[in-house]
Symmetry: C2
Subunit: 225 residues, 2 copies
């Protein structure tokens, strides 16, 4: 090495785990999906990886995450927050890269705007193949965080439209947790939590007893951290 | 610029917010303190800042945080976890620096081993002066996280010795939250949470009704994330 100034080089990348709810291809039950990008160069050429790229010097962290997402999937999810930074010395075989990882939650109306892009494919989150780098660990970390956070925060609201029924909201919880919840208990807990409120209207055109519609309560929102 | 290769330079630093519980200098009530380091070069020469430094290429993120802490304060806290990464484009006046921030919680026995170091001083966490860079925002973020997390996780256990009374544990909650808690309610909630268990012994040499001692329950620990 010709200069001691540049020997301590660390590169910085921003990647994103994007979760959307879609039917499972075999069971048909709603479950978590995420988009992956096929790598077209070494290391790990041909492997699937999280959407991401090097941080540009003029770009904020979240802006970098948003740009990659828009470029690869066409998605512009309202809910984007920082997950964790991964920096193990040996996580990339070629160089030292620290990845700051964001996670995004996609509403059905946002998901409908997903664009088809070559080398991008959606996978069931619990069934991803062997990924590049430590990206399996990152996906696992994001799933753990989501499944923990849904039990103590109103984060499930990021998966529903502005107005929703309690059955829809319960469906989100069930899809994320992968198990059924008792409707009466769920209803009681959600209403006691104070994070949703009735709109005063009902779902139209369904049954003779149309379910009430709810919206997020106008309180201090969960900070996007 | 002579080369397009090096124009997108981003530097990476690791800093740590260290919380310990000590008596407030005016009220005497137990409250949160943190150590700060006086900057001895520009930018912000003379201002106080969080302990930290550039990430070395051969060093993991947490190892970098631990090294700086040991060098500045002599502390080797058992509880160290990643807080957040701060990367606003303009957070450093001279260059582009992304700081990955850890936070550490210090037990009384660990705090007793704090070493005196020139240019390091401890401050009441809610009364820090104007700091260098965006470090006031980082301290605020860490305080918010700690005060939120103590309400839904057993993180208070990181501030007590291996064996403790419920009054000691309540004192930690009160010091962190800055308000009094009802002893009977607190006792009921903690015991219902299942995160502590009685040791079967009592505090000795105190009163005619010595309080029972507790320890962390041997369950899956809160992951250090």
């Amino acid at each position: 090495m010709s200069s001691s100034v540049v020997t301590e080089q660390v590169s910085l990348a921003v990647s994103t785990v994007v979760f959307a709810l879609r039917p499972h291809p075999r069971t048909g039950e709603t479950t978590l999906w995420l988009p992956l990008v096929r790598r077209i160069r070494e290391p790990y050429e041909g492997r699937w990886a999280l959407p991401g790229g090097p941080l540009k010097a003029h770009q904020d962290l979240a802006a970098s995450a948003r740009e990659t997402l828009a470029d690869t999937t066409g998605l512009e999810p309202a809910h984007l927050e920082q997950l964790y930074s991964f920096g193990a010395v040996d996580r990339s075989p070629a160089d030292r890269v620290v990845s700051i990882v964001y996670w995004a939650l996609v509403r059905p109306d946002e998901d409908a705007r997903t664009t088809e892009t070559p080398n991008v494919e959606w996978f069931v989150a619990d069934e991803v193949p062997q990924l590049a780098f430590d990206h399996n660990e990152i996906v696992r970390h994001a799933l753990d965080r989501l499944r923990a956070k849904i039990t103590y925060s109103p984060i499930a609201l990021a998966f529903v439209p502005d107005e929703f029924t309690l059955a829809e909201l319960r469906g989100v919880h069930e899809a994320v947790l992968g198990r059924c919840l008792d409707p009466a208990n769920f209803r009681r807990q959600v209403l006691a939590g104070g994070t949703v409120e009735p709109t005063g209207t009902h779902l139209t055109g369904t049954s003779h007893r149309p379910p009430a519609l709810y919206r997020a309560a106008p309180r201090e929102q969960e900070k996007s951290r």
